[in-house]
C-alpha cells in the first residue's frame, strides 16, 4: 500500500513537470493563431489572450494576397523541391559507387566528403556568396546549387552506409539479366535504399526550407525570395501590425507543424541524422 502511494505521487510529480514544459511549447502557437484571427483593436484590448469569437480571416487575405506571401511560399516550395531532387539523385549515384564500384582514389575522395561534414565553417557563406557573385549566379540556379552542396556530404554518408548493409544478390541477378550499372542503380539500388532516402529527403527538405543566411544575402528581389527572408522583411516593415505578423507566422509555421505531426518518426530521424554521424 505504501509503495503504491509513493509510486502514484512520483508519477503525479513527473507528469506535472512534463506537462508544464509541454504547455510552454504549445501555448505560444495557440496565441499566435488566436491573434492572427483578431482585428488590431481587439488585440489592443486583450493582447490576444481572450479567445477570438469569430473566424476573421482578413489578416490572412492581406498577408497572403496583398503582401505576396503566396509567392514566398511557392518560391520556398520550388527551392526545396528542386534541391531535394538534385541531392537524392547525385548523392545516391555517388553512394552507390562508393559502396559497390571500384575506381582510383575512392577512399581519399570519400574521406574528403566525411571531413566536410566534421569541419565547422562558421563563415562558409562568405566565400560562397562571393563565388556566386563572380559567376553571376545570384539567382535561383545559384541558390539551388549552393544548397545542394550543403546536404550532399551527409546524404552520401547515410546512403553509403545503408548500401553497405544490403546484400548484393538482387544486383547480381539484375546483372545476369543484362542490366548495365546505371540501370542497376536506378531499378535495384534506389528502391532498396528507400528507407534511408526518406531520412535524406526530410533532413534536406527542412534544411532548405528553414535556411536564412545565404538566401538573405542573395535575394533582394521579392519575386524570388523564399519564405524565411520574406518573413523577416515583412516583420521589419510592419513592426506595429501585430495581427498581420501573426497571420504571416501562422502561414509559415502551420503547414510544417501539420507535416511534422503526420510524419513525426521521419522528422525525428531526419533531424538527428547529423548527430548520429558525429
Amino acid at each position: 500500500m505504501y509503495y503504491r502511494a509513493k509510486k502514484i505521487v512520483i508519477l503525479i510529480i513527473l507528469h506535472a513537470f512534463l506537462l508544464s514544459v509541454a504547455l510552454s511549447c504549445i501555448f505560444p502557437f495557440f496565441w499566435m493563431i488566436n491573434v492572427s484571427l483578431k482585428t488590431p483593436q481587439e488585440f489592443d484590448a486583450d493582447y490576444g489572450l481572450a479567445l477570438a469569437h469569430h473566424f476573421n480571416l482578413d489578416n490572412y487575405k492581406e498577408v497572403i494576397l496583398k503582401a505576396g506571401f503566396w509567392r514566398y511560399f511557392l518560391n520556398s516550395i520550388f527551392y526545396t523541391f528542386v534541391t531535394v531532387v538534385l541531392i537524392v539523385l547525385i548523392s545516391s549515384l555517388a553512394a552507390y559507387a562508393f559502396s559497390r564500384l571500384q575506381f582510383p582514389a575512392k577512399n581519399v575522395i570519400f574521406y574528403m566528403f566525411l571531413a566536410a561534414m566534421m569541419i565547422p565553417l562558421p563563415a562558409g557563406f562568405v566565400p560562397v556568396y562571393i563565388l556566386l557573385k563572380q559567376l553571376h549566379l545570384l539567382n535561383r540556379t545559384g541558390y539551388v546549387l549552393a544548397m545542394t552542396n550543403m546536404g550532399l556530404s551527409l546524404s552520401i554518408y547515410l546512403l553509403k552506409t545503408f548500401f553497405d548493409q544490403l546484400s548484393r544478390d538482387l544486383e547480381d541477378a539484375a546483372r545476369i539479366d543484362g542490366c548495365n550499372k546505371l540501370q542497376i542503380w536506378w531499378h535495384v539500388g534506389i528502391p532498396l535504399v528507400a528507407p534511408a532516402l526518406s531520412v535524406v529527403v526530410i533532413f534536406n527538405a527542412l534544411n532548405v526550407w528553414n535556411e536564412f543566411v545565404l538566401a538573405s544575402l542573395m535575394f533582394t528581389n521579392n519575386n524570388i525570395m523564399p519564405l524565411q527572408v520574406g518573413l523577416m522583411e515583412f516583420s521589419n516593415r510592419m513592426v506595429t501590425q501585430h495581427t498581420l505578423i501573426m497571420a504571416a507566422l501562422t502561414v509559415a509555421a502551420l503547414p510544417i507543424i501539420f507535416l511534422y505531426i503526420k510524419m513525426q518518426k521521419q522528422f525525428v530521424r531526419g533531424l538527428t541524422a547529423g548527430a548520429v554521424v558525429g
Partner: protein, 298 residues
C-alpha cells in the same frame, strides 16, 4: 587492359556530379577563405594583399570579442540549463508509460520550426510598446505574478532572455538524443543492481551516468558548435540589441553586408579554429573519462 580502364572510367563517372558541386561549393570556398583573410576585398575594386592586418584587427577588435563573449554566455546557458532540463525530461519520460508519445511529439516541435519563426514569435510575445505592456507581462499579471513583470527585451534582461529563447528552441533536440541513449541501456543492468540492493540514486550514478557518457559528450560538443554559430533566431528576436546580443556570426554577416569580406573571412577562420579545438578537447576528455570508468566506447 583497355576494358579495365574503361570500366574504371565508367565507375568514376558515378561520382562526377557530386565531385563537381563539392569542388565548386566546398573545396574552393574552403581554400578561398584563407586567401580572402589576407586581403582587403570590398567585392568591387581589385583585392589587395595586406598580410596579417585582418587578423590583427580581429584580435584587437572590442566588437568581435564582445560578440564572442555574448556567444559564450548563451553557450553556457545552453550547456547547463538547456541540457540539464533535457536530461531531466528524458529521465522522466523514460520512467512513465502513459503519454510518452505525446511528450515526444510536443517537445520536438520547436527544433523542427525555423529560427526566424521562433525569433519573430518570441519577439511579438516579449517586446513591449509601450514599455512593460507585452503579452508575457500581461500573463504574469493575470497569474498574480505581476511583481515579476519586466521590460524583457530592454537592456537589463535582453541577454538572459535571448539565451532562454535559445534554450527553449533547442532543448527538444537534446531531449530526443538523451532519450535514445537512455533506452539503449539494457534493463538487466538495473535489475541486477536492484537485487544487489542499490537504490535509485546509486543506479543513476553507477549505471545510467557512466553508460550515458558518450551521448553526453556528443550533446555537449554539438551544443557548443551549434550555439557559438547561432545567428538567425537572435537576429529575428533582438537584431543585436545594440551590441548586447551580437553573436560572432552576426558580426561576420554584417561585415560581409558592408563589403568588408576579408575581415569577415578572418573572423570566420578564428572562430572555426576555436571550435575545432574545443570539440577535439571535449572528445579527448570524454575518452579519458570512459577509460577511467572502464566503459567500452560505443
Amino acid at each position: 587492359m583497355n576494358s579495365l580502364i574503361k570500366e574504371k572510367t565508367v565507375n568514376f563517372s558515378f561520382i562526377i556530379p557530386a565531385l563537381i558541386i563539392f569542388t565548386l561549393f566546398w573545396i574552393y570556398p574552403f581554400f578561398y577563405t584563407f586567401i580572402l583573410s589576407f586581403q582587403e576585398n570590398d567585392l568591387i575594386s581589385a583585392p589587395k594583399f595586406i598580410g596579417l592586418s585582418n587578423f590583427k584587427l580581429v584580435f584587437t577588435s572590442g566588437d568581435w570579442w564582445s560578440s564572442m563573449y555574448n556567444g559564450g554566455f548563451i553557450t553556457l546557458w545552453a550547456l547547463t540549463f538547456q541540457n540539464i532540463l533535457a536530461l531531466m525530461l528524458a529521465l522522466s519520460v523514460d520512467k512513465i508509460i502513459r503519454l510518452r508519445k505525446f511528450y515526444r511529439v510536443v517537445f520536438f516541435i520547436l527544433p523542427v520550426l525555423s529560427e526566424i519563426i521562433i525569433g519573430l514569435l518570441m519577439k511579438q510575445f516579449l517586446a513591449s510598446e509601450p514599455v512593460g505592456e507585452d503579452v508575457f507581462n500581461h500573463l504574469l499579471n493575470g497569474l498574480g505574478l505581476g511583481f515579476l513583470a519586466h521590460n524583457w527585451l530592454g537592456t537589463a534582461y535582453v541577454r538572459v532572455i535571448t539565451a532562454m529563447v535559445h534554450c527553449w528552441k533547442g532543448f527538444g533536440w537534446a531531449f530526443i538524443i538523451f532519450l535514445a541513449g537512455l533506452q539503449s541501456i539494457p534493463d538487466q543492468l538495473y535489475e541486477a543492481a536492484r537485487i544487489d540492493g542499490a537504490g535509485a540514486w546509486h543506479c543513476f550514478t553507477k549505471i545510467t551516468l557512466p553508460l550515458l557518457m558518450p551521448v553526453v559528450t556528443l550533446v555537449v560538443v554539438l551544443t557548443i558548435l551549434g550555439t557559438m554559430q547561432a545567428f538567425a533566431m537572435i537576429l529575428a528576436l533582438t537584431g543585436g540589441a545594440g551590441g548586447l546580443t551580437t553573436v560572432p556570426v552576426m558580426v561576420i554577416y554584417d561585415h560581409l553586408r558592408h563589403n568588408i569580406a576579408g575581415l569577415a573571412a578572418a573572423e570566420g577562420l578564428v572562430l572555426g579554429v576555436i571550435l575545432v579545438a574545443v570539440s577535439f578537447t571535449m572528445f579527448f576528455i570524454s575518452k579519458k573519462i570512459r577509460e577511467k570508468y572502464g566503459v567500452l566506447p560505443s
